[in-house]
Assembly symmetry: C2
């Protein structure tokens, strides 16, 4: 039991919940770098289960594959990422989460104000009427975004 430490792509797919094609796609993007057998079949390290799970998590948090790749610089293929790797990455992710939550809460507040105020016909709705204020005063400038 030595080659037993290595996983075929199908096995890895089952372990991570990813599709085989997605894993190949990730390899293409440089997110994993499996070895090959003599017959050119991929053989993954067990630690790649974690690597891929990490990708799933990060994606779930709204990171693009490019950003994930960026974050993974410094996580060597063979080594299980250690606490300080994790600290660095998770701090960055944490920031993103905080920012997203803050943004949503701001919107929720505005929205609540809107519901309360009868809105859509009034000037004070922060969310909806931003445009009207301008549209009414002659040649209106642009709105939002």
């Amino acid at each position: 039991m030595k080659a037993n430490d290595l996983l075929g792509i199908g096995e890895l797919a089952r372990r991570t919940g990813l599709s085989v094609s997605a894993i190949r796609f990730y390899e293409n993007k440089g997110l994993v770098e499996p070895m090959r057998t003599g017959g050119n079949q991929r053989r993954f390290l067990r630690s790649d289960i974690r690597r891929l799970s990490f990708i799933l998590i990060a994606q779930n948090l709204g990171l693009s594959l490019a950003e994930i790749e960026e974050a993974m610089k410094g996580l060597p293929q063979g080594r299980t990422p250690n606490a300080s790797d994790w600290k660095r990455i998770s701090a960055a992710i944490r920031q993103r989460i905080d920012a997203q939550i803050a943004r949503l809460e701001k919107i929720r507040e505005d929205l609540d104000g809107c519901i309360g105020c009868g809105c859509l016909s009034l000037k004070k709705c922060a969310l909806y009427n931003a445009c009207d204020k301008w549209g009414e005063s002659g040649k209106g400038p642009r709105v939002l975004r």
Copy 2:
């Protein structure tokens, strides 16, 4: 000044901040239904400024155009949406926001637990190790998602 109540697509673009091509695209999707001049040029109602702004807001909240279209069923083209229209729509949006915030907060919690616990090498990390637990007990099932 009677045709002055109608807007050309360029004017509408300037008022909403959208590109002309985006507005045409939205028309294609059925999100606005401008009239046409004899020469086939689009003429929009002033209320379409709001309609499009609404689309921008909803998109900002993470709704897809398909979902927005769904939500806009019942907002007639010619009429300025009233308070109860708004109530209905904003309640739906509000739910989404709440759900998103809850999801992010859950993730943040897990993440914090992770940072604290040294993680990545331990069994107790909710975020990261979900897979390992399974991977270790024989034929592991799928993970996440």
